[in-house]
């Protein structure tokens, strides 16, 4: 399995997609909506870009298509569902860690300046 560090820093689109899948599997429309909600409408993953990114993420082995379907009443049979792979989860963790570190360094600097 490739090292998660190889993928860092993660492209913004990829990060948003992985983040949306962190809670569980999701379809394309769901991912788009979630990113919109999460960023209060600031970030929109446009359809073609979204699926292009999904394709690349699958090729890289960060996500996979899910064969499990959610509960019947929530299932939208027309759509494909995606979920994180183990590698994907580790990449997401590594990226979160990296961002977290960055923020911590930033705060330290700010504290010193005061």
């Amino acid at each position: 399995m490739p090292k998660p560090e190889n993928f860092l820093p993660l492209k913004t689109n990829w990060f948003h997609i992985l983040l949306s899948l962190a809670a569980g599997e999701q379809h394309g429309y769901g991912i788009m909506q979630e990113v919109l909600d999460r960023t209060s409408g600031k970030v929109r993953l446009w359809p073609a870009t979204l699926y292009g990114s999904l394709k690349r993420l699958i090729e890289e082995g960060l996500i996979e298509e899910s064969s499990d379907r959610p509960a019947r009443e929530l299932d939208d049979a027309r759509r494909r569902y995606y979920r994180l792979t183990r590698l994907g989860r580790r990449v997401l963790d590594a990226e979160s860690e990296r961002l977290h570190d960055l923020v911590r360094i930033l705060e330290l600097k700010r504290a010193e300046a005061h």
Partner: protein
């Protein structure tokens, strides 16, 4: 608005590559439909635009990604079969390299216009014109032409630059240039970058001498002197004033032989020996070319017709023997081209190039296609599996094509390198020319673009058939049977067999055509020398251009041979205007006047040479009748209208006089008359044969004129050649140099070479051609061999089971071998037949349309070494190519072959 955006979006969504479409197509579409209301609500029209832009950016990205995948896959596959890749790249590389080299000749020399000349398409040229004729063209046809100029060139000038003091004159250099009528620059539309050009209103006879220099001369020899205009310069020992410098890159009207200095026809004969003897008023001295600028709307045909009428009238007035020539008297050449090739020749050269390039590239590609077909059988399983898991056939075809394109591109790269290499070799070659030639055959961007297109097109075209065949199959049976399954379309007249026949035919055609050229060249260009050519030295001296007066130069040459003959070891000394064994140009038209019982006999394309006393003796050439020139003949005063004695060669004797005795008979040229005093055997020399259509080549008729004081007064552009034959060779040369220096230390001896070197230089061009065509022929042979081996190997693999059964039923190894060989043999015989007759047809057509290759082809076609040798050579290679894989069939173990099912 929304629905329009959605319609565009949907269109674009359907345009995604097949594989992306299969997986994500529906989702992309769905997502767009689901999101569009929200987008419209939140972002308005900008959002819709953003949606469309997003998908239109994504489209090419996906296609590129797929292409990259294809290339990566192709690279891996080729890496896995290095033998196939190497042969493919090498054969395509060779083919494309030859194509690139041949096309650069076309793109660099034949196609382009001469630089700096205004509106070059309206400028035409007429060669072999005398100055009085030119004046008539200029003055009589003012409605058809907007301007007519005359020039003579390339002509050498001994040029030195005067420094600040009289003592600081630079050493004289031989610079080539044009003698031009004052209209020259205005007719070709070239302006001076500094100073002025010549002007008929200003530059009149009797004025102080002036010259015009090229930009190159000014840069390389005058250090871009800002005050160059107005400075004086020494030309052939006379002082002249520089009146102007030309624009950059301008090197005269025929830049393949660059002109660096321009001298007006109004110059004194002391400075320009070519103008001595009242040349400008002699209708017979046809050393000028006329440049004609056509008036708007005037066609070339009408110009040619008008000039023809004028010329015929002038011919009649001056009693020129050319007046009796039938057909067109005037042929106009393009005036604004790098090489002024006649218009009819251009398509011929183009056609020959296309045929050769087509054959070479075509054979290389067919070979590749054949190998791909053979591979297709072993790759059937791979293809079938990919088809069954959902790859589209289009995608697979594209993938197989990508492999070919990759091969073709790498091959193209190899080919371009090869072309550059050949060009550099060609440039280093020392050409046997008296004048500098600018033969640049380094591939230009146009040739490279052409090559790129050829390689890409060949990659695609010849990859398509194998790709189509490979992907057209019955899935289930293929998967079951694996590599042994029959591929459709491989029956007796199947694609592969057709390709193979075509390839053998093409190879034999190449081999034969190349052979015709090589053997023909050898036959028509053979040089026979009766003595050791190392022992004859040729030196050139040009006293007139070293500042001698006509009188002084004539005296010098009359004494020189005797002085040299007295040196120890020197056996023979002779003077000549042109070195012996030079390529013969037959351009004159002469006539034998009618006599009792005999009509006038006009002979065209006669070569005239001017030679000194003892010329034939020094070359050990026999005289069949009469005598050769001696020192008495050199003293004849031509200006008094005396009848000049001439020696003619055998070919001329039979053309002018048939079987009659030529001695004492007259030959006329314009107003001059000659009397035949001797007949010499033909001296075979390169390009010395001529042939029309499919007649057997004959030697060019040569009329030898004696050197007289007129010739001594203005030596030819290569200087006067002194031939010195001695017992020891090199040792005598020192004595010769000392002797000339003792006569005059300022005389420059140049171009010193042995006769062997002279002949070698002449044949270098021919050898290069031989090498080139030989390489093409050999290349075809090798490719055909590889192709045949591939076909037979494939056929053996395909028939494994059948052979196994036959052997199990008791067939012997020899029988099996014969069975396999028979198939290959049939292809070879069929291909050879087509190739043989194809080659003969092409050779006949080519020799019928052009005199350029005519003699070579006609001589080549009759050479039994070729007619029997080439097919035999090909057949033996072919049989060998069949035998190697066929032997493998005999080694098939029936048990194993049958168990494999």
């Amino acid at each position: 608005m929304k629905s329009l955006a959605m319609r565009i979006y949907r269109r674009l969504a359907y345009a995604f590559p097949h594989e992306f479409q299969m997986v994500y197509g529906a989702d992309v579409l769905q997502l767009g439909e689901d999101a569009i209301d929200d987008i419209w609500a939140r972002h308005g029209i900008l959002g819709l635009i953003r949606l469309i832009v997003d998908i239109s950016i994504r489209l090419p990205v996906e296609y590129l990604a797929e292409m990259r995948q294809d290339f990566a896959y192709a690279r891996r596959t080729l890496w896995k079969s290095p033998g196939f890749a190497a042969v493919g790249i090498l054969s395509l590389g060779l083919g494309i390299g030859i194509a690139a080299f041949a096309s650069s000749e076309f793109f660099n020399l034949i196609l382009p216009d001469a630089p700096r000349i205004q509106n070059p398409n309206r400028l035409v040229m007429l060669q072999g014109v005398s100055y009085p004729y030119f004046e008539h063209y200029r003055d009589d046809q003012r409605t058809l032409f907007t301007g007519v100029a005359a020039y003579q060139g390339p002509v050498p000038f001994n040029v030195s630059l005067a420094g600040a003091t009289a003592a600081s004159i630079t050493k004289a250099e031989r610079i080539f240039g044009h003698i031009v009528s004052p209209e020259y620059f205005s007719v070709i539309g070239v302006r001076a970058a500094r100073g002025r050009t010549f002007d008929p209103q200003i530059d009149k006879p009797g004025n102080a001498p002036v010259v015009f220099l090229s930009d190159r001369f000014w840069r390389e020899r005058m250090n871009q002197d800002a005050g160059a205009v107005g400075r004086s310069i020494r030309v052939n020992g006379q002082t002249a004033t520089i009146i102007g410098i030309g624009p950059e890159d301008f090197l005269g009207v025929v830049p393949i032989s660059p002109a660096e200095i321009f001298v007006p026809t109004t110059s004194p004969a002391a400075m320009v020996p070519e103008l001595a003897g009242d040349t400008l008023h002699q209708p017979a001295s046809k050393f000028f070319s006329a440049l004609v600028r056509l008036a708007p709307g005037v066609t070339l045909k009408s110009a040619e017709a008008a000039l023809d009428t004028v010329t015929r009238r002038l011919d009649a007035d001056s009693l020129d023997p050319a007046r009796n020539v039938k057909g067109r008297r005037v042929t106009l050449l393009p005036g604004g081209k790098v090489v002024p090739l006649p218009r009819e020749i251009v398509p011929v050269v183009l056609a020959l190039n296309i045929v050769l390039i087509g054959l070479v590239v075509g054979i290389a590609c067919m070979n590749l296609a054949n190998m791909q077909l053979a591979r297709a059988t072993t790759r059937r399983r791979e293809v079938a599996i990919r088809l069954s898991v959902g790859a589209s056939r289009f995608r697979l075809i594209r993938q197989l094509l990508t492999e070919n394109v990759l091969l073709a591109l790498i091959g193209g790269g190899v080919g371009v390198l090869l072309a550059f290499w050949v060009a550099s070799v060609f440039e280093k070659l020392k050409l046997p020319l008296d004048v500098p030639m600018n033969l640049n055959v380094t591939p230009s961007w146009r040739a490279l673009l052409f090559t790129f297109a050829v390689s890409l097109a060949s990659g695609i075209t010849f990859g398509l058939a194998p790709a189509l065949t490979a992907t057209r199959s019955d899935l289930s049976s293929t998967l079951k049977e694996g590599a042994l399954a029959q591929t459709r379309g491989f029956r007796r007249f199947g694609l592969r067999n057709l390709l193979m026949v075509a390839q053998v035919a093409g190879s034999l055609m190449l081999l034969l055509l190349a052979g015709f050229l090589i053997f023909g060249f050898e036959e028509t260009n053979r040089v026979k020398i009766a003595f050791d050519p190392q022992k004859m030295y040729l030196i050139s001296i040009d006293p007139v251009r070293d500042g001698y007066t006509a009188e002084k130069a004539a005296n010098f040459f009359e004494n020189l041979p005797d002085r040299l003959k007295r040196l120890p070891g020197v056996q023979q000394v002779a003077l000549t205007e042109e070195a012996p064994f030079a390529p013969l140009a037959g351009i004159s038209t002469l006539a034998a006047p009618s006599g009792p019982g005999r009509p006038e006999q006009v002979v065209e394309k006669v070569n005239k040479q001017t030679i000194g006393a003892g010329y034939f003796a020094s070359l050990s050439v026999n005289l069949l009748a009469g005598r050769e020139f001696d020192s008495r003949d050199q003293k004849i005063d031509v200006t008094k209208g005396a009848v000049l004695p001439v020696v003619i060669n055998q070919a001329a004797a039979s053309e002018f006089f048939g079987h009659a005795d030529p001695l004492g008979r007259r030959i006329t040229e314009a107003s001059r008359a000659y009397e035949v005093i001797g007949v010499a055997t033909n001296i075979p020399s390169p390009l010395g044969a001529r042939g029309e259509g499919d007649q057997l080549a004959t030697q060019i008729p040569v009329v030898y004129l004696p050197l007289t004081r007129t010739e001594f007064a203005h030596s030819p552009r290569g200087g006067m050649v002194v031939m010195i034959r001695s017992a020891q060779g090199a040792d005598s040369m020192e004595a010769v140099r000392r002797e000339v220096a003792s006569l005059d230390p300022n005389l420059v001896i140049f171009n010193v070479r042995t006769l062997a070197e002279q002949v070698d230089r002449v044949s270098a061009i021919i050898r290069l051609d031989t090498f080139f065509y030989g390489a093409i022929g050999g290349f075809g042979l090798i490719l055909a061999t590889i192709g045949l081996a591939g076909v037979t190997a494939y056929s053996v693999a395909r028939r494994r089971r059948e052979i196994g059964i036959r052997m199990a039923l008791g067939a012997r190894k020899g029988q099996v071998l014969r069975l396999v060989m028979r198939e290959g043999g049939a292809l070879v015989v069929a291909g050879s037949l087509f190739g043989f007759f194809g080659a003969i047809i092409v050779a006949r057509v080519l020799s019928a349309v052009t005199n350029l290759f005519g003699p070579s082809f006609t001589a080549g076609i009759r050479d039994p070494r070729l007619i029997f040798g080439a097919p035999l050579l090909l057949a033996s290679f072919a049989l060998f190519a069949c035998y190697i894989p066929a032997r493998r069939s005999a080694k098939i173990d029936p048990l194993i072959a049958l168990r494999e099912e």
